[in-house]
Symmetry: C2
Subunit: 195 residues, 2 copies
DNA sequence: TATTTTTGATTGACTGATCAATCAATAAAA
DNA sequence: TTTTATTGATTGATCAGTCAATCAAAAATA
């Protein structure tokens, strides 16, 4: 069975498995055994490639934030006007795979983990900054800098808040409704500062 | 040392200790020993009064949501007009003790826990519904029912989102700024649907 | 080509630490 | 004496992390 060049394959499998197990479990209190089983390897192998559980989890956050970033970059490229780019950022935030219950549960778990793990926190801060700057950059083309900052703060908070509320699965809000609410926030605010 | 009638005293001390330890630790992965130590009793006593760790944690959520509820009720009583009542709800959400880093860390941990514990989830759903209905009830006095629903969803999401972003402690937003942002959201939206 | 050596991949079995939970025992009030 | 409060000691389970051993492909050598 042992073939050469398995490392990248196993690393990816383990990171994907970790995200799935964390999402299902709704918490980082998952065992290396569960993750390894899900990836179809032994727990020992997971340790062999990642050194520790913490490292595997950190790598899991990193990889998934990278994927989210890639989605945003692609969506931004496809949009042309600032207003379209703003919509693109919002759309990606709520796109199906991001807004799935297990994904939301996983992100929530990572936010909790960030209270203890400086490295996890760093990654999430990068995400928050990126979202903020994507919003501000495009808003500045549509209104004064001060207003752009304020509207961006509000929009970012609303996006994150819609995630949290989604995590409770009571009165779940549809993807479309979430997008509509955020779009509406931008439109109303842009109109207000202009008119 | 053993005096009679200690049960309520110990229960309160343990619940308070749990909240403090969870807040400091930033996670529910705290030990009964830590909580008991913080409360100045033995771990065995914590089990004696609560039966299990899970029950102690559930009781901790319940008690703290009850306190939050009391604050809101008091603040609502002090306000007279619908608009003032809306401001009261917002003010309480961001009041000092609620917005302290340890408190936010604790809530975050409870939200994560709610993915696994049905009972924890139930309590948080009750909080979400209460916030929503407090907002809707007063908004309905100021605009059409449909708009009230929508604005309430947005405001609730924004409040929760500001909490999450606060938890990362990067570019922390002040209490006043958070209140201003949410107030501004309400004002702008109410103006938009009226004018 | 055939044979040996090396190296990467992989695991089962084990260890040490941690922790929730239990329980028997003690001490003081009623 | 009965009841309530309290704890130290202990247990049983869970898990992260380690390690020595195995297996097979690839590389080196004959």
């Amino acid at each position: 069975m042992p073939k050469i060049g398995m490392e990248p394959v196993r690393r990816k499998a383990l990171v994907d498995a970790a995200m799935r197990v964390i999402g299902d479990h709704g918490s980082l209190a998952v065992t290396m055994s569960e993750i390894a089983k899900q990836a179809g390897v032994s727990p020992a192998l997971a340790h062999h490639y990642f050194g520790s559980k913490e490292q595997l989890l950190i790598e899991t956050v990193r990889v998934h934030l990278q994927r989210l970033r890639d989605s945003v970059v692609t969506a931004l490229r496809a949009a042309t006007t600032p207003r379209e780019k703003l919509s693109a950022v919002i759309r990606v935030s709520f796109q199906a795979d991001q807004f799935a219950p297990e994904t939301i549960a996983a992100w929530l778990a990572f936010y909790a983990e960030a209270q203890r793990s400086e490295e996890t926190r760093r990654f999430l801060v990068i995400y928050a900054r990126r979202l903020h700057s994507n919003l501000v950059a495009n808003l500045k083309a549509l209104c004064a800098a001060g207003d752009a900052e304020r509207i961006a703060e509000g929009a970012a908070a609303m996006i994150d808040g819609l995630y949290i509320r989604q995590s409770l699965r009571s009165a779940p809000i549809s993807t479309e409704a979430s997008i509509a609410l955020t779009e509406d926030y931008l439109t109303t605010n842009l109109d207000a500062v202009k008119g």
